[in-house]
Each structure stands twice: as C-alpha cells, then as structure tokens.
Chain length 207, copies 2
DNA sequence: AAAGTAAGTAAGTAATTACTTACTTGCATG
DNA sequence: CATGCAAGTAAGTAATTACTTACTTACTTT
C-alpha cells in the first residue's frame, strides 16, 4: 500500500461527494481507503479537519481548465465559435471519462451545502470557483483584445459559460442523459446561443 | 393553532432546505413547527415519508413563473430583449423578497443531493425542473413564431436561461453579493450576452 | 539486537437519532 | 354526561456515530 494519508484523502473525497458531509461516516471512509478507522483519526484528528485537508488537496474542480485550453491555443487561425465548440466538447469529454473529475464536481456541489453553515468552507469554495472562472475570464479578455469578440464584461461571460456546464453536469449526474439528451448536440446548441445570441441578425443591426 | 399538518410541512421544508435531508432531525422539525415530535410521527409515519409529502406540497420552485410572465405578456409592443430584461429582474426581485421562494430553491438544491440516491426523489425533482423549463420553452417558441427570435432550439435556450439563474442564486445564497456584485447589473450583462451573443456583429453577417 | 514508527485489533464511551409505547389533557359533538 | 379525537408529556429502545484508550504486530533504522 502506497501513501496511507493520500488514500484516505481520496476516499474521503469520494465518500463526501456521494454521501454529503453529514451523510459520510468516518467508518465508511476508512473502509473505502482500506485502513482502520483509528488510523484516520490518528492522521487527521477529526472529521471536520479531514474535510479541511481534502479541500486543500483538491484545488481545482475540473481537473485542469488550463489543459483544456492548450488543445487549441496554438492554432491562432481558428474562429472563436469553433474554439469554444472544441472547449465545450473537451469539457463534456472530461466529464464523461474522468471519474475523479465527476467526484470533484459532486464534492464541490456538497461544499455549497456545507458552505452555508461553515464560513471557512465557503472561503475554500470561493477560491475553487475563482479557479475556474479566472482563466476563462482572461481568455475572453484576450479575445476581445484580438477583436474576435465584442466588448462584454468578460467575467459575466465566464459566469454564464460556467453556469451552463455546472448546471447541466448536475442534471446529468442525477438523471443521466434522460433530461438533456445527447451531450455533444446539446452543447453545440448552447455554444450557438452563447456566441450568436437569440436575436435575429437584422434586429442586431439596429443597435 | 391552525392546520397542524401544514405547519409541519412548512417547517420541514425550511429545515430540509437549511440542513439537508440527513442533517435535518425530526426533533428540530417538530420544534420549528411548534408540535410534539410524536405528533410528527403520528401524521407522517416516517422522516422519509415526510419528505415525500413536502415534495407533493411544494410543486413549483419559483413561486410561479407564470405570474412573472404576466407582467409584460399584454404589452405586445416590447422588443424581446426588453421583455427578458424585465423577466430577469422580476426573478431577481422575487429571489430577494420572498423568503419562501428562497427556501424552495434551497430545498430543490437539497433534492439534487438526495435524488442521486433515491429514484423517487429524482422523479419529483425532474417534474419540478420541467415546471420551470416548460413555460420558458413555450415562451421562446412563441417568440420564434412571431419572428422576434431566430430559430434556435427553444428548450436549449430555456436551459441556458435557467442555468444562469439557478447557479447565480446558489452563489448568492452562499456568498451573499460578494462573489457577483450588484444583482440587477449582473443580470443586465447576462441578458445582453444571452440575446446578442458574444461575437462581433460583422462576424455574424458571414454566416 | 534495540528502538522507533506506522499500522492494526478490540473494546468502549457518550451523544444523538428515528421511532415507539403508554398514559394524559382539552375540546367538541352526539 | 359520555364518547371520541387531536394533541401533549414522558420515558425508553435500538442503532449509529465521532472519537478514545490500550494493547499488538510488522517493518525500518540505527
């Protein structure tokens, strides 16, 4: 067995994510980590402290938004819509494939519940969220500078973008594909709306 | 004392919303409802059954999206963007003012957690969500028919719209206004993006 | 070989929790 | 007046939970 501490942290992430903080028992976490329950308490002192350490151990929600950006950041000849389409589908792919990512998102989701009661958790959650919004925000800023995007508040654009993915990944977690249908198609439709808006083009010219 | 049963249901909604299903204790709910704990069990048999009844008792998440629509549906001369701006701000206002609405949303939020474990809860949650998405969807459909909106998938538009409001109301619940800043301004920026998209107008003409 | 360290086993504690049983009180209706 | 019903009081049960104590085992370092 490798690093006991890390194994406990990973197990805690999974159990917190699937059972919620209150629902997760230290016994269950220890079992999942293949250690004796007493070992968990020796290493982390209390359940509350364990949560804190898991928080520190898992800083980003999507395994790395930066990595997802890299896939097209070299090819400068792509138009913005195509880039976002690629980004969106990569996010969707990461959601499907990486189990750890799914757990991280559900963990983050649990933090919303816990954050309303514990200010320290809210603080940690806040920096989690910033970590996703910031690179996106900067990306949009750059697009505006490069003249590929009209002048909108880049943070609002990032929040709109993230809203969609957080919400729909939640829906998919609970309902599978029954609520939203095919992932890629749905994302294409979102990107279409996000980039072009819902108004008719002729109506736009008036402004 | 009025209707004991209803008082318990209301109390349960509040406690489930703020503590989560697992975190809510029957004792606390009874206390909140000003009844003896035993009365709760006499009326509802079990905690699980109480959840079911609360579910039935609170069907819509926003007190009524229909009401919010009414505020402009008679004035047909408004353009779509203005209408959506009004709708968005009405939603924001309802969020701020109506405590019961806030509790309902947090309750719905809790259902996401619980729904992953209990298929019946997921089912109820699904119809909750449909109840918000459907009228919006139909509204967009109508706008498309009236030529005020370009042809996009109306359900995807509704989901995009709802995503934003669910996610940001969650953020506001946890962080207050510190994360997003002024409510109305932020919503204006969202509506701007949602209606007009993020691309430059000249880029749109190429398509 | 001795000593330290990381882990396990086993048992237990005090508190909490969903839920029950048995009996009582107050009020309305026949 | 008597009967019935809705609600309360009080006490308790069995299970679970976070966490502790005391002792043991196995492996590594000196």
């Amino acid at each position: 067995m490798e690093d006991t501490e890390q194994r406990i942290l990973d197990a805690a992430l999974r159990i917190f994510a699937s059972e919620g903080y209150t629902g997760a028992t230290t016994r269950r976490i220890a079992e999942e980590a293949n250690v004796a329950e007493v070992t968990l308490f020796r290493k982390f002192k209390s359940k509350e402290n364990l949560l804190r350490e898991v928080l520190i151990n898992n800083r980003s929600v999507f395994s790395s938004l930066d990595d997802l950006f890299k896939s097209f950041q070299k090819e400068t000849d792509l138009d913005l819509e195509t880039e976002l389409r690629i980004l969106g589908k990569n996010i969707a792919k990461a959601m499907r494939d990486k189990k750890k990512d799914s757990k991280r998102r559900m963990f983050m989701f649990m933090l919303f519940e816990e954050g309303r009661r514990r200010p320290e958790v809210a603080g940690a959650l806040s920096s989690f969220l910033q970590m996703n919004i910031k690179p996106l925000s900067e990306y949009f800023e750059l697009q505006i500078k490069n003249g590929k995007m009209r002048t909108v508040n880049s943070r609002s654009a990032a929040i709109t973008f993230v809203s969609y993915f957080v919400y729909t990944s939640l829906l998919r977690e609970v309902f599978g594909d029954s609520f939203l249908g095919d992932n890629d198609e749905e994302i294409e439709r979102f990107i279409d709306i996000f980039t072009k808006g819902i108004l008719k083009v002729e109506d736009l010219k008036n402004r």
